[in-house]
C-alpha cells in the first residue's frame, strides 16, 4: 500500500489548488494558438498566408495579457478577427480565474496558518543557540517567557490561542521568542517546535490544565530522554504521576506557597531568605513578615485553601473556613457557608478575635472585597490574598496586604530558579535544615550588605573558561582565600557588597563559608549581594591585572610604552 500522505504543507497546497486554473490556462492558450495557425489570413494583395506557431504564440501572449500591439504581421481578415474575439475572452477569463484562485488562497485562513507554521518550523530548525521550549502562553507562560528572555535565553513558545500568539509576536522581549501555534499536547507540534532539536535545553509545561502538562511531560521524556522537563501541576496526584516517569521538576504553586507561608511562623528569617533568593526580579527589599498564631479565617476552600488549611493547622492555629459550596469543595464539617465578602459571614466566623484572614478564591474582586470588609471589622488582622490575574497587580498593591499569593509569578520564579540557578535551590534546601538563629544571622549579614535593594544571587564558577585569571594565579602557586576575591578592583582594602552563601566543591557543600576559606580550582561559589559586586568579582577572576593587584597589592603597568620607559615587566 501507498503510505498515507502527511498533511499538506503550504507549498503543496498552492500547487494542488493551482492545478485546475493552470490546466484551464494552458488549454485556452493551446486552443487559441492552434486557431491562429489553422485560420488563413489575407495579405493586402489578396493572397493567403498562414501564421506559424511562433507568431501565433506571440500574438496570443500579448492579447491574453491585454497588452495588445495590434494585428501583426498583416491586418487580420474577418475569420481571424472572429477567432481573436473568442480567444480574447477565453484567455482573459482563464487568467482571472488563475489569479482569483491565488488571491483566495492567500486569504484562506488555513493556508496562511500553514505558511506561518512552516516558517516557524524552519526558523526553529535553524536555531544555532540553546533554547527553552515553553508550552502554554497563559499568565504563567508569559511571565516565564519574559524572565527567560530577560536573562538572555532564547525561548520557543507553543500556544493554541491565536490572540496569545499575536501578543507574543507584538510584545517587546529583549530576545525575540519564536512562536509555534498548535496544540502542545500533540507530539507532532512539539517536534516541529524543536523538542528533538539537539540544542533544546528543556521543556517547560505551564498550561493551566494538568492533563495537558502531563501529556507534554511524557512526550518530552519519551522523545528526548536527556531533556530537562519542568511541569506545572495543580493537583498532587498529577504531580506524583509526573515524578513517576522522571520529570525533573514538578511545580505546584499552591503547595509551594503554603509551605513557604508556614515557614514564616517558625522562622521569619528563613522565610525571608527564601523570598530573597527565589526572586528573579530586582525589586525593593522585602520586609520580614511575622504571621501571628491564633484564629485564622480562610475564605475559599479550593486548591490553595486546602493547602493553606493543612499548613495553618500544622502550625497550631485555629482555622475557620468560609466556602460558598462547602460540601462540593470537601470543606471541614464546621465550615461556614458564604462568600466572605459580607460582614455577616465574617462576624459568624468570629472576625473580631481572629488574628489573620486569607482570601483564597479564584476571583480577584471577591478576594479584595473580603480583605477590605475584614479590615473594617478588625484593623489588626494579618492579611493574605490570592491574586489571579496579572493586570490586577496595582489593586493588590494598593490594598497593602501582608502577603500576596501570585500564582503566575510564583510558578515563573520557581521555574527560572530550577533551570538557571540549581545552586540556589541546593543552598535553600540546606538552609531550610538550619535553625532559625542561623537564618536570622544570614539575613542580617545580607541586609547589611545590600542596604535597600533586594539581593541578587550569582554563581562564581572557578574553572578555566569563566575564571581564567584565577586559574592562572592558582597555577603560579598562589593560595587564594575567599575574602581576597571579594575586594574592590580599584581598592583592595574595600570589601565588595557581597555575602558568600555556599561553596560547592565536588559533592561537598560548605554552607556560609568564612573569608579565610581557601578556594580551589573547580569550586562553584554562590554569592548574593549588590549587582555591582557581581560585575567587579567577575572582572577579578577574568583579568590577570586585577587578580594580581588583589593578591599582591601591586599594579601591573598596562601601557607597553610606560612599561619600557620604567623598565618594569
Amino acid at each position: 500500500m501507498r503510505p498515507s500522505p502527511a498533511p499538506p504543507g503550504a507549498y503543496f497546497l498552492v500547487l494542488r489548488r493551482l492545478r485546475v486554473p493552470l490546466i484551464v490556462l494552458i488549454t485556452a492558450y493551446a486552443v487559441s494558438i492552434t486557431g491562429f495557425v489553422v485560420i488563413p489570413g489575407t495579405r493586402a494583395d489578396g493572397t493567403a498566408w498562414h501564421m506559424d506557431f511562433f507568431h501565433a504564440f506571440y500574438f496570443v501572449s500579448y492579447m491574453g495579457s491585454t497588452i495588445g500591439f495590434g494585428e501583426l504581421p498583416y491586418p487580420f481578415n474577418g475569420a481571424q478577427r472572429l477567432w481573436t474575439l473568442f480567444s480574447m475572452y477565453a484567455t482573459v477569463i482563464s487568467w482571472l480565474y488563475a489569479i482569483g484562485t491565488m488571491i483566495s488562497l492567500v486569504q484562506d485562513r488555513g493556508f496562511v496558518q500553514s505558511i506561518v507554521r512552516n516558517r516557524a518550523t524552519h526558523r526553529i530548525g535553524r536555531l544555532r543557540e540553546p533554547f527553552y521550549l515553553v508550552c502554554g502562553y497563559g499568565e504563567a507562560g508569559k511571565v516565564v517567557t519574559r524572565f527567560l528572555s530577560e536573562i538572555g535565553e532564547r525561548v520557543v513558545v507553543v500556544e493554541k490561542n491565536t490572540e496569545a500568539i499575536n501578543e507574543l509576536t507584538l510584545g517587546e522581549l529583549p530576545i525575540e521568542a519564536l512562536a509555534m501555534q498548535g496544540d502542545a499536547a500533540d507530539p507532532g507540534v512539539l517536534k516541529r517546535a524543536g523538542l528533538t532539536h539537539p540544542l533544546c535545553k528543556g521543556v517547560i509545561a505551564v498550561i493551566g490544565d494538568d492533563q495537558e502538562n502531563l501529556k507534554i511531560a511524557i512526550t518530552a521524556k519519551l522523545l528526548n530522554r536527556g531533556l530537562k522537563v519542568v511541569g506545572r501541576v495543580n493537583e498532587e496526584d498529577t504531580a506524583d504521576n509526573m515524578r513517576s516517569f522522571g520529570t525533573d521538576h514538578v511545580v505546584n504553586p499552591f503547595n509551594t506557597f503554603a509551605w513557604h507561608f508556614a515557614l514564616a511562623f517558625n522562622s521569619p528569617g528563613l522565610h525571608l531568605l527564601n523570598d530573597w533568593l527565589s526572586q528573579t526580579d530586582y525589586q525593593a527589599l522585602n520586609e520580614p513578615v511575622f504571621p501571628p498564631r491564633g484564629r485564622w479565617i480562610l475564605c475559599g476552600y479550593g486548591r490553595l485553601g486546602k493547602a493553606l488549611h493543612r499548613k495553618l493547622l500544622e502550625q497550631d492555629n485555629e482555622v475557620v473556613v468560609i466556602e460558598v459550596n462547602p460540601k462540593q469543595a470537601g470543606a471541614p464539617a464546621d465550615a461556614i457557608t458564604g462568600r466572605g465578602t459580607e460582614a455577616v459571614t465574617l462576624r459568624e466566623a468570629g472576625i473580631e478575635d481572629a488574628v489573620g484572614i486569607v482570601a483564597a478564591t479564584d476571583h480577584d474582586a471577591n478576594n479584595l472585597s473580603v480583605i477590605m470588609t475584614a479590615k473594617e471589622l478588625n484593623a489588626s488582622l494579618f492579611t493574605v490574598a490570592r491574586q489571579n490575574q496579572h493586570r490586577n497587580a496595582p489593586l493588590f498593591e494598593a490594598a497593602t496586604l501582608h502577603s500576596v499569593f501570585n500564582q503566575n509569578f510564583l510558578i515563573a520564579n520557581q521555574i527560572i530558579n530550577l533551570l538557571t540557578t540549581p545552586l540556589t535551590n541546593e543552598f535553600l534546601r540546606q538552609a531550610n535544615k538550619q535553625d532559625p538563629e542561623w537564618a536570622n544571622e544570614m539575613v542580617s549579614r545580607i541586609s547589611a550588605t545590600v542596604e535597600d535593594n533586594a539581593p541578587l544571587s550569582w554563581v562564581l564558577d572557578l574553572n578555566a573558561v569563566s575564571a581564567p585569571a584565577f586559574v592562572l594565579a592558582i597555577h603560579s602557586g598562589y593560595e587564594i582565600r575567599l575574602g581576597q576575591l571579594c575586594r574592590k578592583p580599584t581598592d583592595r582594602k574595600a570589601k565588595l557588597a557581597s555575602v558568600a552563601l555556599m561553596i560547592a566543591r565536588g559533592d561537598e557543600l560548605l554552607l556560609a563559608p568564612e573569608d579565610e576559606t581557601v578556594v580551589k580550582f573547580g569550586d562553584r561559589i554562590l554569592f548574593c549581594g549588590h549587582r555591582s559586586a557581581r560585575n567587579r568579582m567577575l572582572s577579578a577572576v577574568t583579568s590577570s591585572d586585577v587578580m594580581i593587584y588583589l593578591l599582591t597589592g601591586r599594579h601591573r603597568i598596562i601601557s607597553p610604552v610606560w612599561r619600557r620607559l620604567t623598565g618594569t615587566r
Binding site: M1, I23, A30, T34
Partner: protein
C-alpha cells in the same frame, strides 16, 4: 475507477504518443517533422505536469520530475526552431532538424519513464 487517475494516465500516454509521432521519421529531414505535432506534444506534456502538482507520494514526485524533464526538452526544441526560422530567418537545415528531433527524443525517453512508472504504480497499488 478514479477519474483523476484516468485523466492523468490519458495525458501521460497522449504526451508519449504525440512525442513519438513527432520524432518518427528521418532525423534530419524537416518534412518528416511537423511543427503542429511538436506544439501538441508540448501542450499535452505541460498539462500532464500541472496535473501532478502537489502530489506528495514518492511516485508522484518522480512522475512530476520526469514530466518536467520532458517539458524542458520540448521547450528547448521549440525555442531552437523559433530562433532559427523566425529569429535568423533561415529555413530548417538538416543539422538544425537533427538537433530539434534529438532534443524531443530526449523528451520521448522521459515520457517513456513516466508511463513505465505509472504502470508500475498501478501494479503495486493493486496488490
Amino acid at each position: 475507477m478514479n477519474m483523476e487517475k484516468v485523466l492523468f494516465a490519458f495525458f501521460i500516454l497522449l504526451a508519449l504518443t504525440l512525442n513519438f509521432g513527432f520524432v518518427l521519421g528521418d532525423i534530419d529531414d524537416p518534412t518528416h517533422h511537423h511543427a503542429a505535432e511538436l506544439f501538441a506534444a508540448l501542450v499535452v506534456s505541460l498539462i500532464a505536469t500541472v496535473m501532478k502538482f502537489g502530489d506528495r507520494t514518492p511516485v508522484g514526485s518522480v512522475l512530476l520530475a520526469s514530466s518536467l524533464v520532458a517539458d524542458l526538452q520540448l521547450i528547448a526544441a521549440a525555442v531552437v526552431w523559433a530562433v532559427v526560422t523566425v529569429g535568423m530567418g533561415d529555413a530548417l537545415t538538416p543539422a538544425v532538424t537533427t538537433s530539434i528531433v534529438s532534443m524531443s527524443s530526449g523528451a520521448l525517453l522521459a515520457n517513456i519513464v513516466s508511463v513505465v512508472l505509472l504502470i508500475l504504480e498501478t501494479f503495486v497499488a493493486r496488490r
